[in-house]
Symmetry: C2
Subunit: 355 residues, 2 copies
């Protein structure tokens, strides 16, 4: 053991009777060392339990890591996409003194060309790494092709495109999240109650995403014969405007008065539950993510369960993944599923206070 003080390269040099230059050549396999001395040095490394000091190394190398993020724009501080951004900022803050540096870019979900424009801007920066939320599949593919040409590593966050050369995907297991939603909604319904799945799509978001969530949801009910003869409809509302949402829901509920549970496949459940409250409908709601709107509705009882996919943590993890790759050359797991937190009125505050 003998780890009173940390072993330095000078300690190694003293032990092996060589200069620190030779130590360095051995450590970094830069050749030009006689077998005899190399052996002595390796013995020293072993005996003195040497670990390079990351601080001194970072300082000596003076490297700079520029990371670019490309996310959908957070229209207000209330919206979901504000959260991963906060996480990325937090992560970069931690590694700032290690030379990490962030340029955040945003694209509009209503405008593919804004994605392309920002992607090009990122390429112009020639970053060390990229964090991408690939909600536009086609444009994302073009972008990552160019990243690969330039050997710029990238991670996907929140949404995944499979079988690509991304370093890692950091986000939820979409199918699993739907399955859990199914279990939760089922737990607050009677066996005969009908269910509605609402896909509320904003702009040109990739709908393959919500399709997987829906599939997981339906799978829960299929997995249990006793539950599988319940009616489960799904509708897509191509807007987040109150009037549009209101009209679509009214249209549906008038035709389907047996609906007792709603599953909203993204973070906009509060738009639905507010409608229910307004029209005094006793319908259970399960949705995603701890955004302010959902929290308020959860607390006043209009939403029953929120599933959180830890958006802040996703951002932090994405940054950490890139850093570990740059500095420690550590290859991350290709898929890093975040925990899916089950949030109810009674535990939501603990989550809010800790992010």
């Amino acid at each position: 053991m003998a780890k009173n003080k940390k072993t330095t390269i000078q300690d190694l040099a003293n032990y092996a009777n060589v200069s620190i230059g030779t130590i360095d050549r051995v450590l970094h396999n830069r050749g030009k060392v006689s077998p005899a001395k190399r052996k002595k040095v390796e013995e020293a490394i072993e005996k003195l339990d040497f670990n390079p000091n990351l601080l001194a190394r970072t300082l000596a190398l003076g490297r700079q890591f520029t990371v670019c993020s490309l996310f959908p724009e957070a229209t207000t501080s209330q919206s979901y996409w504000a959260l991963p951004k906060i996480g990325v900022d937090q992560g970069v803050e931690v590694y700032r003194d290690f030379g990490m540096d962030l340029h955040a870019y945003e694209y509009s979900l209503f405008d593919e060309s804004s994605f392309i424009k920002n992607a090009d801007a990122i390429l112009g920066k020639n970053p060390s790494g990229v964090i991408l939320a690939p909600l536009f599949e086609k444009e994302s593919l073009e972008f990552i092709t160019k990243l690969q040409e330039r050997s710029i590593p990238y991670v996907f966050i929140d949404a995944n495109i499979k079988n690509k050369e991304n370093l890692s995907y950091i986000g939820p297991d979409l199918k699993g999240s739907g399955y859990i939603a199914g279990k939760l909604l089922n737990s607050v319904l009677e066996p005969s109650d009908d269910i509605l799945i609402v896909n509320m799509v904003k702009g040109f978001e990739n709908s393959a995403h919500t399709a997987v969530v829906e599939k997981g949801f339906r799978e829960f009910f299929k997995s249990n014969a006793a539950l599988s003869n319940r009616k489960i409809d799904s509708i897509t509302i191509p807007s987040t405007l109150e009037t549009e949402v209101s009209r679509e829901l009214t249209k549906y509920y008038i035709k389907n008065p047996g609906t007792k549970g709603v599953f909203v496949t993204n973070s906009r459940a509060h738009l639905i539950s507010r409608y229910h409250a307004l029209h005094e409908l006793d319908i259970k709601v399960v949705g995603f993510d701890i955004v302010p709107g959902n929290v308020a509705e959860l607390k006043n009882g209009n939403i029953d369960y929120i599933i959180s996919q830890r958006p802040v943590f996703q951002g932090v993890t994405a940054v950490k993944t890139l850093f570990d790759f740059f500095v420690y050359k550590k290859s991350p797991a290709i898929v890093q599923y975040v925990p899916l937190d089950i949030i109810i009125k009674e535990n939501v505050d603990y989550y809010i206070n800790f992010q």
Copy 2:
């Protein structure tokens, strides 16, 4: 802005036409600077947006932080106390190059004198800070008195002693955790079903702890008139041995056949649910913590809900709290409640894979 390269003290010196020595005196309020130069330097700090480089500072100071932890012993790698330990190890690993250094001590829950012995050993080390799980209240009070005499900062983890000079408490809101357990158990029971609360106490653990959890649990049922006429008993089993547990449960269940739900106030729910499975009893179980025994029982359906108080995260947070205090002189919140995660069969794996 102009943050192309980070501002260094040399940059400040150039801007203010002084030496870096003077810069340092201003930065650290070491006096002996003429008002004129001080003003110029302060202007430089402002204009150039200077932030000291933590790496270089740490290297220059060469400080060493010795942290000692004092936890109950983890009898096997399966037991709860293995988890906070893992967290502490992870945290210390992060800050190792910043001079942080850990000595972990353990005490037996069956032997107060082992607590005293280890506490004395820690005092002998004269650490920079201490992480304490104060499960023996009296002995803990004596220990922290001595820590205070020596001005050694300490944090409580997992269990709290209120109104002490601890830097912070990092752990669950015990009352809230009981309340949530009540809500969860209620959600899987019929209104007329009876409930049993099991306090399984090992050694001389502080039972005030479980009393608070039980109080929170009962409060849930009191808060709702419709639920408050259900029978809720509680028993204390002063052992974790299978034969003891078995005898106590048999005794109770024979006299109380209406029992349909059990709440176990600590991490030993699997001992109860195994008994249920063995005796083919259809009794719902809610307990705490993702220990291997509970995970297995959750997966095979004998436990319905596990509430996790993020033990690993508690350890990490405790270390981070001390580090921030040492290095940034940042005073933490006196109470840092960890999120209370609701774990079911369907989401448990995400939690396991991420710790």
